[in-house]
């Protein structure tokens, strides 16, 4: 099976997944008990006014009609209006997306960077303290609930030793000038992104170390060593190059987790992002908003899964065939 066929197959599956999620999403949110009028509790908001509002939200249409409208509008990224603010959900999401992306990218770059570096280092020095550290950090990642660790950091460095901001993405108002603004943003990023990095780098390091060790035991590396190549050259020129493909794949495989984790991180650090929008919307039973946020997150996850498949197929030809079974 060629790469193109493989790719088409994966794309087709991604579309199926998307369709299933969308349909499921539709059914679910129509069945939810919340409606726009239940958010409005005001003695002077009469039943007639409520009925009017329901009509405006198109809640009285036949479900099939609603479903058709729904699919068509999602294709155009028209996510409807939030019940709570009555603004277009797309616009509210777009306001928050830059915040989520900046948090996400910062966390990701540092987490992967530090993790890979430490992993390589640990592979180079087997049995050292670094290796124990890496194993420990990997275990830490696995056992410690992210939100607990983040709460601890927040209490310690936000409230007790007040060196980092405890809410928001920028100071209100931000300082004048470009660089002061960048610094201000970074200052706000330290706790949320930093906690993600500390929690997450361990598994990267562990993965890199294991991949490196596997590579180092390969025949060609042993040959290279035997030829008298320096340890450094073996490590970085040969071994590292051979583990890059799985690491690149891991990059994409870890994206969904990061997107998902945004819900908790953003909630804890009062970060005005998409994840927090989802949880706020769910708690308020604002279904267009929750649906829009979920749609965006689901697309991010599906796309990154697809990219992972794509890269994986590219770097590891075996998978095109084995993909049948995986």
């Amino acid at each position: 099976m060629g790469y193109r066929t493989y790719l088409l197959r994966r794309a087709f599956y991604a579309l199926i997944v998307l369709f299933v999620i969308l349909s499921f999403n539709f059914a679910l949110f129509r069945l939810m008990p919340g409606d726009p009028t239940s958010l409005i509790i005001d003695p002077r908001f009469t039943p007639e006014a409520k009925a009017l509002l329901e009509k405006q939200f198109g809640l009285n249409d036949h479900p099939i009609v609603q479903y058709g409208k729904y699919l068509w509008s999602l294709l155009r990224f028209d996510l409807g209006r939030s019940f709570a603010s009555q603004r277009p959900v797309r616009q509210e999401l777009m306001e928050r997306l830059p915040n989520t992306i900046s948090l996400f990218l910062t966390s990701f770059v540092f987490m992967a960077g530090i993790g890979i570096a430490i992993g390589v280092f640990a592979a180079a020095r087997r049995g050292s303290f670094t290796e124990t550290f890496v194993t420990g950090a990997g275990l830490f990642t696995y056992a410690v609930p992210t939100f607990f660790f983040q709460l601890l950091l927040l209490m310690l460095f936000g409230y007790y030793i007040r060196i980092f901001p405890i809410h928001g993405t920028v100071s209100a108002p931000p300082p004048e000038g470009f660089w002061p603004q960048v610094l201000d943003r970074l200052h706000h990023l330290v706790l949320p992104a930093g906690s993600n990095v500390i929690i997450g780098f361990g598994s990267w390091a562990l993965y890199t170390r294991n991949a490196m060790l596997e590579a180092l035991s390969q025949d060609y590396i042993i040959t290279a060593r035997a030829k008298g190549l320096s340890q450094r050259a073996v490590l970085y020129r040969h071994a590292l190059r051979s583990v890059l493909p799985p690491i690149v794949t891991l990059v994409f495989l870890s994206l969904p987790g990061l997107v998902t984790g945004a819900v908790i991180t953003e909630t804890i650090f009062s970060w005005h992002g998409v994840g927090r929008y989802l949880i706020d919307a769910v708690l308020k039973q604002d279904f267009p908003a929750a649906q829009g946020a979920f749609y965006l997150i689901a697309i991010a996850v599906i796309v990154s899964n697809f990219l992972a498949d794509l890269v994986y197929g590219l770097v590891d030809p075996r998978i095109r065939v084995a993909g049948e079974q995986a």
Binding site: T37, P43, F45, A84, S85, R96, R162, A172, H272, L283
Partner: protein, 565 residues
Amino acid sequence: MRRGRNSKLFSLAVGLLALSLVAPAALAAQKVQYEKTGPRVDEIIMPIITESEAQLIAFERGETVVLPGLTKPSDIDKVKANRNADLTMNLGFHMFYLAFNMRREPLSELPIRRAIAHVVNRDQIINSLFKGYMLPLNSFVPPSSPYYNEDVPAYDYNPAMAKEVLDKAGYVLDKATGIRIDPKTKKPLRKMTIYTPTYEVAPTSAELGKMIAEAARSVGLPVEAQPMDFNVMLSNIDNRDFDMYVLAWGLDRIPTFLYNFFHSSNDVIEGYNTPGIRIPELDAALEQVYYAKNEAMAKKGADEAQRILSREVPYVTLYSRPYIDAWRKDMVTGYVPMMGYGAANYNNKWTTLNIRRVDGPGGTIRWLLPENPESLNPLTTTSAYSWEVLGRLYDGLIEVDPNTMKDIPWLAESWEVGTWSPEKGKTGTKITWHLRKDVKWQDGVPFTSKDVKFTLEYLKKNEVPAYQSAWQDLVKVETPDPYTAVVYFSTESYWHLYHANAAFLPEHIWKDVKDYKAFQPWLEPHPTVKGLTKLIGTGPFVFKEWKPGDYVRLVRNPLYFAAAK
């Protein structure tokens, strides 16, 4: 009008307050100094901080000069410990209550409702859940309202009386089970549930439900509290699928809420008469309130309605939350405590105008916004936090005196309430506004009666749900001259005076807005004036910037008609 200008009503006899609440006489008797001009600062930065603990820290650090609407006892204690904090407290129109479903056995029986009313221990609730920072409420109209009837008997905490009421009505206690026997069916009373919001949403309400249920069980009534998802609860209430529930109302000065809550016409699915009380003599009294020709008639109807309600017990009212605001007195001064709204609420024009820095005129103050406003469209937003911003941009035709609670002419110099005949044999209300001649929109265009006419007609044409009370009975608006607007309503009610007092829209901006719901005035630049958006009012502050989730920035309106000289 939801959270709009006219939710502030009416003269409130100050002396009345101290009578019935155990309320501090000193609070009622406050006589605050304030000016009717302003503003006195150049800029307000409103940082958006949603976590209550982060808010406290911001206050401590001076990143906000005010903590508006404190409700958590621990927060209040924390603020009290700050030497630079000044706390203001004002009685409000908040009401927390337990409602009965009178359509269902055995809650349809008066002795059961009375017995439950007698086992509710308000003091215990307030002390253990609110550390004493609430005021017990034992009437259907909060005592801060001029329509409060002090002669109505109240149900005090008295379990012995509860037992007596039940015994007399034949509900005999079955000693073996501890449950009373229904004299009609000869069977033990069925289990009754109190719906409450969950601990996550409203921990105090959930706890309170539990306390009431326990108290009821102690007199042999099998009552249990059931915390549930807030929207499920509201939906159940809407569909009348409940025994009892606890919830709060934010009322206002107009007593028409009595009509909405207890008139038989509102006993429909999703109507506000959730207990399902239907009593003709009550309906008559409530109609007298709702269609009052004047204040006196409304008062008479309200008095009668409260007498009947107290007898029938469709609700047990529990407590009322006062407005407690904290101020950094080392940084600002000039905030004006105000009955019914507190010192920091946007309905309190006087704080907006009078607040100033202690270190001199002008400058910037930072004013906490506890939630992201979500929208700044005055016609669609239902969020109080949006109004915390919008309220500083707009003026009412009438404002309210913080000391006497009397109407103060504001954009209108004067007005008359009269009648007219919409058709033969019918009487409608006619309100004539005489507008000030020196008021300008923030872009320099004069504010005239055409704007009044445009706004009311725009609301009616678009059937804006949130403003239904303004347009549903509106017939027409006439503008005999630029400074006179005559508003005609098809029904006769004194309250139309306040219905006609909207957050007015500038005609020259809004006349081109086809879809009011899609309009986002704060994002569109003003067509002619640089630096402004299409979000303009006549008020003391001009909207500059909103960074969602982070802050809102307002600056002084240089064209303000009431600017300090």
